[in-house]
C-alpha cells in the first residue's frame, strides 16, 4: 500500500504533466486551416449547408474552414476520403441521410460503414420531405392524390433525381405505403426533374422541402403531404401527411458533420462545442430557414444522437430497399 502511494506520488507530476500537455494541445487546436469535405458538387444544397456551417464554426474556432468538394459515386468518393483522413481534427466532413444511411443498402460496394467508421459531430440541418405535383394536376390534397394514384397505377408518372437519391427513396416509401406501383422517370438531379414538372411532362416528385421551397412559394407547383408530425415553418400552408390521412409517411432528411474515427476526445469535444454554438446562432438559424430547413430539434442534436439516428435509418432504408426488390444507386 505504502509502495503504491509512493509510486503514485512519484507519478503524480508526470500524470499532471501528461494531462497538461494533452490540455495544451487541445487548447492550441485548431492551429491551422480545417478542411471540410463536401461529397457533392459546389452550389448544391449539401454544399451550401456545409458552407454556412463552416463559416459559423470558423468564427467560433478562430480558424478558417475551407470546403473541398469531392463529388462522385453519389457521395461515396468524398465520404471515403473523409474516412481515410488523418483523425487530427483538421479534416471534417458532411454526410446526410443518403450518404450515411441509405447508401448502405443502395450501394453494394460502399467503401465505408457509417455506423462504425466516423466520429459524429452532430446533425446540423433537418428538412422534411414532401410531395409536389405539376400545377394542373387533378388533385389538391394527399387524399385525392392517393386516390388518383390507386386509380391510375402505371399511368402516374413520378420523376426523381436519380436511383437511390433521397427523392427516389421517399417516393418508393410513399408508394409502398399506399401499395401503388407508378411509372418512375429518372433524371440527373433536381434541376432536370423540376424542369419536366414545370413543363408538365411528368406528374410530380417527392423531395425535400428545402429543394422545392422556391417553386412552392412561387405557385408553380402544388405541394402536400409534408412527411413530419407538424407543418414545416417554412411552408406553413402545406398540410402534413398526417392531415392527409397517411401518418405512416414520415421522412425527415438530415445533414450532419463527422470527423474521421479516432479523432482525439478533446478535439472532438471542441468541434462539437463549435457545432452546438453555431446552431444556437440566430444568423445560422435564419439562413437555414430561408433555404427551407431548420436546425435539429433537441432530441436530434449532438454527436451521439446522430449515430443513433444513423443506425435506425440504415435499418429503415434497408427494409424499404429490400421491399422494392433492390435499388442500386447512380449518383
Amino acid at each position: 500500500m505504502a509502495l503504491f502511494f509512493a509510486t503514485g506520488r512519484a507519478l503524480a507530476p508526470l500524470v499532471a504533466m501528461v494531462c497538461f500537455v494533452g490540455l495544451a494541445s487541445a487548447q492550441a487546436y485548431p492551429e491551422r486551416i480545417i478542411t471540410m469535405i463536401v461529397p457533392f458538387a459546389a452550389g448544391g444544397a449539401t454544399d451550401v449547408t456545409g458552407r454556412i456551417m463552416g463559416d459559423a464554426m470558423s468564427k467560433r474556432l478562430g480558424q478558417t474552414i475551407v470546403v473541398e468538394n469531392v463529388a462522385g459515386a453519389g457521395g461515396a468518393t468524398g465520404s471515403l476520403r473523409g474516412k481515410n483522413s488523418k483523425p487530427d481534427g483538421y479534416t471534417i466532413g458532411v454526410g446526410h441521410m443518403g450518404t450515411h444511411a441509405a447508401a448502405v443498402s443502395t450501394n453494394p460496394k460502399l467503401p465505408y460503414d457509417p455506423r462504425t467508421d466516423f466520429d459524429y459531430l452532430g446533425i446540423v440541418n433537418v428538412t422534411p420531405n414532401l410531395l409536389i405535383v405539376r400545377k394542373d394536376f387533378p388533385a389538391d390534397t394527399l387524399q385525392a392524390f392517393t386516390a388518383y394514384a390507386k386509380a391510375n397505377g402505371k399511368g402516374l408518372k413520378m420523376a426523381h433525381n436519380g436511383l437511390g437519391s433521397l427523392s427516389h427513396l421517399t417516393c418508393v416509401l410513399y408508394f409502398q405505403l399506399i401499395e401503388v406501383d407508378p411509372t418512375y422517370v429518372v433524371y440527373r438531379g433536381f434541376g432536370q426533374t423540376i424542369n419536366d414538372i414545370l413543363s408538365g411532362a411528368v406528374d410530380g416528385t417527392c423531395d425535400l422541402v428545402a429543394s422545392v421551397t422556391g417553386h412552392v412559394k412561387g405557385g408553380s407547383v402544388k405541394a402536400f403531404g409534408v412527411a413530419d408530425e407538424a407543418r414545416s415553418p417554412v411552408l406553413p400552408d402545406v398540410p402534413t401527411a398526417t392531415e392527409g390521412g397517411l401518418p405512416a409517411f414520415k421522412v425527415e432528411s438530415w445533414l450532419g458533420l463527422y470527423a474521421p474515427k479516432a479523432t482525439p476526445a478533446p478535439i472532438l469535444a471542441r468541434l462539437r462545442q463549435a457545432v452546438a454554438e453555431s446552431l444556437a446562432d440566430a444568423d445560422v438559424q435564419k439562413r437555414f430557414f430561408d433555404l427551407g430547413g431548420s436546425v435539429p430539434k433537441p432530441h436530434q442534436a449532438g454527436g451521439d444522437k446522430m449515430l443513433e439516428i444513423i443506425k435506425a435509418d440504415v435499418v429503415r432504408w434497408a427494409e424499404v430497399v429490400k421491399k422494392a426488390g433492390g435499388i442500386e444507386a447512380t449518383n
Partner: protein
C-alpha cells in the same frame, strides 16, 4: 415604358462604385481563366463561392455572371491561338479560328470574336430585358422527346461540320456517342464499359476528352512537325479586322445571335448546340463552302456570337423559372441560396433589383469585355512568337491544373494524357476530332432524353411523332441527312457512269 423603368432600376443598382468594381473584377477574372487553357469557369466559380459570402448578393451574382461570360470571351483566345477548346462551346472556334491563326490572321480572328460577342451580348441582353417572361413559355415547350429530337438534329449537323469524308465523320460521331455511354446507367445503376475501373464510374469528363484529343493531340502534332509551327510565328499580320472583314462577318454575327439566343433559352443546356448549328448554317449559306475549315472568318464570327448570345439567354430559365441549364448556372443557384435567395418563379417579382441589376450588368459587362479584350489582342498575338519549346510545357502544365481542378481527381489527368495519344493518332489517320466531341456532348443528353421520353410514354415510340416540336425536328434531321448524303450518292453514280 415599364421596360425603361425596369432598366432604370437595374442601372441604379449597377452604377454604384461597388457593383461596377465587382463587374469589372468578374470580367477580368473571366477573361483570365478563359485564356488559361484548361482552367474553366466552373472550377473558378466554385473556388470563388466562399468569397461571395461576404459581399451583398446582387454584387456577388454580378461578379459571378461576369466570370461566366468573361470566360466565354476569353475561351475563344485559346481556341484560336493554340487550338485548345476550354469549353464544349469553343470546339467550333478551333475549326476556322486556329486555321486563321496559322494563316497569320490570329488578330483578325480574335478581333471578330470579341466584336461578334459584344454585338451578340448586347442583342441578347435586350431580348432578356424585353421578353424574359413570355420566353419562359418557350423554354417549357420542350419535353424529353423534343430534346431527344433536338439532339438527333444536332448529330446530323455534326456530319455537315466535317470537312473531309462523310463516313469518317460518322465514325467519329459514333465513337463520341459510345464514349458518352461510359459510366453508371441512369435507370439500372449498373456500370457500363468501365471494366471495373471505379475512376470512370461517373463517366468521363468532357474536359478530359476535349483537352486530350484536341489540345494534347495538337501539341503532339506540333512537336512532330515543328515546321508548321514556325510558319505561324513568322506571320502575324494585322491586329484588327478590316472593314471588309467586318462586312463579311456582320450577317453571320446576326444569324449566330439569333440561333444562340433561342437555343440558350432551353433549360436542357441547348446552348451547347448553338455554335455547331451556326457553323453548319454558315457553311451551307456560303458561296464557297470549301473555305470552311481553312480559315473562313464567318466560321469564327457566327459561332462565337451564337456562343455568347446563348450564354446570356441561359440566364432566363435560371432567373424566371429557377431551373439551372448548365453547371455554371447551378453554381449561380448555389451563390443565390447562400444568400437566402431561393431560385424559383418569384425572383422576378420579389427581387426586381436583383433581376434587373443583373440584366443591366450583363450589358455593362459586355462593354467592359470589349474594352478589355481589344487592346489585349496585340499581347495575345505576340504570345505566338514565344518559342514553342517554352510555350508547350506551359500549356501542358495549365491543362493539367485545369483538368485536376474539375473533379480534384488525379486519374483525370492520366486519362487526358491517354486521350492525347488518341488525338494524335486521329490526326495522323486524317480523322477530325470535332464530330467526336459533339457526339460525346450530345450522346449523353440524347440517351437520357430518349429513355425519359420512353419512360413517360411507357414505351410508345409514337411519342416522338405526336409532339409537334419533336416531329418537326426529326423531319428536319431527315432533310439534313438527305442533303449530306446526296452529293456522296451522286458522286458514286457519276463514277459508275464514268466506268
Amino acid at each position: 415604358m415599364e421596360l425603361l423603368d425596369n432598366l432604370y432600376l437595374g442601372a441604379t443598382v449597377v452604377f454604384s462604385a461597388n457593383n461596377l468594381a465587382l463587374c469589372l473584377i468578374g470580367c477580368m477574372v473571366g477573361t483570365l481563366i478563359g485564356v488559361l487553357p484548361g482552367v474553366g469557369p466552373v472550377a473558378t466559380i466554385a473556388m470563388l463561392l466562399p468569397i461571395t459570402f461576404g459581399i451583398d448578393p446582387i454584387g456577388a451574382l454580378i461578379m459571378l455572371a461576369g466570370i461566366y461570360y468573361g470566360a466565354q470571351y476569353g475561351g475563344s483566345t485559346t481556341a484560336i491561338l493554340v487550338n485548345i477548346p476550354g469549353e464544349a462551346t469553343a470546339v467550333v472556334t478551333t475549326l476556322d479560328g486556329h486555321q486563321m491563326a496559322r494563316n497569320g490572321r490570329a488578330g483578325v480572328a480574335l478581333g471578330i470574336a470579341a466584336i461578334g460577342s459584344f454585338i451578340a451580348g448586347t442583342i441578347a441582353t435586350m431580348v432578356i430585358a424585353a421578353l424574359a417572361q413570355p420566353l419562359t413559355k418557350f423554354a417549357l415547350l420542350f419535353r424529353p422527346a423534343d430534346y431527344f429530337a433536338l439532339m438527333v438534329f444536332g448529330l446530323m449537323l455534326a456530319v455537315v461540320l466535317a470537312r473531309g469524308s462523310v463516313p469518317k465523320a460518322i465514325a467519329m460521331i459514333l465513337i463520341g456517342v459510345l464514349l458518352s455511354t461510359v459510366g453508371t446507367d441512369l435507370e439500372t445503376g449498373d456500370e457500363r464499359l468501365t471494366f471495373g475501373w471505379s475512376e470512370i464510374a461517373d463517366g468521363i469528363d468532357f474536359a478530359v476528352i476535349a483537352m486530350g484529343v484536341i489540345g494534347f493531340g495538337e501539341i503532339l502534332r506540333n512537336l512532330d512537325a515543328p515546321e508548321a509551327r514556325v510558319a505561324v510565328q513568322a506571320k502575324i499580320g494585322r491586329l484588327l479586322p478590316s472593314l471588309a472583314d467586318f462586312r463579311q462577318s456582320l450577317a453571320p454575327i446576326l444569324r449566330g445571335t439569333g440561333i444562340g439566343s433561342i437555343l440558350g433559352l432551353l433549360p436542357g443546356n441547348g446552348a451547347v448546340l448553338a455554335p455547331f448549328a451556326t457553323y453548319t448554317l454558315e457553311k451551307k449559306l456560303a458561296k464557297d463552302p470549301s473555305r470552311f475549315g481553312t480559315g473562313a472568318i464567318e466560321g469564327v464570327a457566327g459561332p462565337e456570337s451564337a456562343n455568347n448570345a446563348g450564354a446570356q439567354t441561359a440566364f432566363i430559365p435560371l432567373l424566371t423559372l429557377g431551373i439551372p441549364p448548365n453547371a455554371v448556372m447551378a453554381l449561380m443557384v448555389g451563390a443565390m441560396t447562400i444568400h437566402g435567395i431561393v431560385p424559383g418563379p418569384e425572383i422576378l417579382t420579389k427581387q426586381p433589383k436583383l433581376f434587373w441589376g443583373m440584366i443591366v450588368s450583363m450589358w455593362i459587362g459586355n462593354l467592359m469585355l470589349l474594352i478589355i479584350n481589344l487592346p489585349l489582342i496585340g499581347i495575345w498575338v505576340r504570345l505566338l512568337r514565344v518559342p514553342y519549346r517554352l510555350m508547350f510545357p506551359a500549356i501542358v502544365l495549365f491543362c493539367c491544373i485545369g483538368i485536376y481542378s474539375v473533379n480534384n481527381n488525379p486519374a483525370d489527368v492520366y486519362l487526358t494524357a491517354a486521350f492525347g495519344l488518341v488525338g494524335f493518332a486521329l490526326i495522323k489517320l486524317d480523322f477530325e476530332p470535332a464530330p467526336l466531341l459533339l457526339g460525346y456532348v450530345l450522346g449523353r443528353l440524347m440517351e437520357e432524353k430518349l429513355r425519359q421520353a420512353l419512360a413517360i410514354s411507357q414505351g410508345k415510340m409514337m411519342t416522338f411523332i405526336d409532339h409537334p416540336v419533336s416531329a418537326t425536328l426529326l423531319s428536319m434531321s431527315l432533310v439534313v441527312a438527305f442533303i449530306v448524303l446526296l452529293p456522296t450518292i451522286r458522286r458514286r453514280r457519276e463514277r459508275v457512269f464514268a466506268e
